[in-house]
Amino acid sequence: MSAASVTEPSARAKGIAGFLVLLYTVITLIPLLWIIATGFKTGPDSISYPPKVVFSPSLEGYVNLFTDRTRATPEQLSAMQPPTNFVDAIVQRRGEVITQPSKFGARFLNSVIIGFGSTFLSVFLGTLAAYAFSRFRVPLKDDLLFFILSTRMMPPIAVAIPIFLMFRNLGLSDTHLGMILLYTGVNISLAVWLLKGFIDEIPREYEEAALIDGYTRFQAFRKVVLPQAATGIASTAIFCLIFAWNEYAFAFLLTSGTAQTAPPFIPTIFGVGGKDWPAVAAGATLFLLPVMIFTILLRKHLLRGITFGAVRK
């Protein structure tokens, strides 16, 4: 028996393991595929029993997602011009008229603004702090890092009480700026901790060589450390973005209109007379898809991000 065969699993073991994992993968993806499929169903198709796996796709869900509609009276319907585009055709076929564009577009845009704003700020501040923690003797460094971690143990609702009062006094309730600052405050601990790990891995000799060549410390940081840490900075940014993108508790309690993000909004989508599941699913698809793509891009650094840098592989 050769040494390789000891640790290399047999073909049969591989086959069984592969089959079981494939089975789990299929089952675990069903809810996600169902979200995507429901987004392309018509109302009746979405609630038919038994559930329809094969159906003729429709953009009704997406049209409903972006419009507010009302039921049209027969007189209105007969007076209407024949539809000139597919949106009107879909709406008219259901006996409805569009009253105004829905709020989904604005809520989605809020998610983008707050997500990217807070990500930029956390990564910018986080990189500076992480560099200082990594390279210099900062007094109370160990306590600070432990403190940064322990802030994550507070339930968001518990933090929301004083933040709610503070924002009310400062006029930050339901503003983009308030949410950006809040998410930055929550994310910065993760950003500093992760980035410190990445910067620790860059050999100090590179900077020291640059310092000897006459660079100032700041130049060395900008021209030597930053390019080396680029991958780490990018993956930290994606983690911060995903957190801000998915966050629900603060958004639900502290925003209601102007700055409301998509997660508290999507569950409140209703159609004319009841829950409109195709529209909800269409909204969910548009909202979840970017994260799915980022997850696939990020797969190499995933472990590090989700364990706060505790497991680096």
Partner: protein, 315 residues
């Protein structure tokens, strides 16, 4: 000793000049870099924490900002700890916590174990399995209420398909007996990949030569698993339990979307109860005390656990 021109130059340059030549001193840079982060943490984390502790000794109500605020001492704490309803909340939280941890550890470890057999396509499947945990719990939780619909839901249909129990005969979210399990199922679906990823890192950290040595010693596969694989992967497994434990103790978004704490108070987890007290009944002082109790509990349990984890690591 090497005596290069640079060394000579360094010796004859006065320290103050050298510092100016390099721009800001290292200490100054350190402070400039760290200060904004510290200020932000003070504003968003420390200050609110102190404020919460202060409020917890008062009868303040946020919906009546002009009412007189009375200092009530420890009365809020006393009322919470002697309230029989809080134990029901704790019980619901404990049920959720224990079962999600058990299921996720078993499933997550089994998956990691299987993926570590390195069959073809294991990388692709790992990436696909991980997807649920990266998504917005509120949005996904909301959609699960559709899957759990008794008449039309896919979940109920699949249960009927597999077990023959009629799909319309049970409702996962509105039955007192089933609702606590409904939230366990969705959380397990979402977070098993988290445990799996950490376990996979643990299994991959075990060097091959240990197994080779065990084969030479003719240790059975079963014995190898219990005396080598499990102990060496244990610190990773414990780390996964720590993260999931903390997260599920503060669970809010997923469950509030699924059941909102109902039916009755069968799935009323601590965070949902806290939200009701703070933002529906507006008992700000009382709920601040509740928040402090939760924080101390999580912090205390986590500290004890981390000590145990460090002991396992040292072995």
């Amino acid at each position: 000793m090497a005596d290069t021109p640079i060394d000579r130059l360094a010796r004859i340059t006065p320290p103050s000049v050298a510092r100016r030549a390099r721009g800001l001193s290292d200490t100054a840079i350190a402070w400039v870099f760290v200060t904004p982060t510290i200020l932000l943490l003070l504003a968003i984390n420390i200050f609110p924490l102190i404020w919460t502790i202060r409020l917890s000794f008062t009868n303040y109500a946020a919906n009546k900002p002009n009412a007189e605020v009375k200092w009530v001492g420890l009365r809020n704490y006393e009322r919470i700890l002697t309230d029989p309803d809080i134990w029901q909340t704790m019980q619901a939280t404990a049920h959720f916590l224990v079962w999600t941890l058990v299921l996720q550890v078993v499933l997550g470890f089994a998956l990691a174990w299987a993926i570590n057999r390195k069959f073809r396509g294991n990388d692709l499947m790992t990436t696909l399995i991980v997807l649920p945990m990266m998504l917005s719990p509120a949005v996904v939780g909301n959609f699960w209420t559709f899957l759990y619909e008794p008449q039309i839901g896919l979940f109920n249909y699949m249960v009927e398909f597999v077990s023959g129990v009629p799909a319309s005969s049970f409702s996962m979210l509105s039955s007192v007996a089933l609702a606590p399990w409904a939230i366990v199922i969705v959380d397990t679906w979402m977070w098993t990949p988290f445990v799996m990823l950490i376990c996979l890192a643990g299994l991959r950290s075990i060097p091959d030569y240990i197994y080779e040595a065990a084969e030479v010693d003719r240790a059975s596969k079963w014995r190898q698993f219990w005396t080598m694989t499990i102990p060496m992967a244990l610190p990773f497994l414990m780390l996964a339990v720590l993260f999931r434990g903390i997260e599920n103790f503060k669970m809010f978004d997923l469950v509030v979307q699924l059941t909102g704490g109902g039916p009755g108070s069968t799935t009323l987890l601590t965070s949902i109860e806290l939200k009701r007290e703070a933002f529906e009944k507006w008992r700000t002082g009382y709920s601040s005390a509740y928040a402090v109790i939760l924080f101390v509990t999580i912090f205390g349990l986590a500290s004890i656990y981390v000590k145990a984890l460090n002991k396992v690591k040292e072995r």
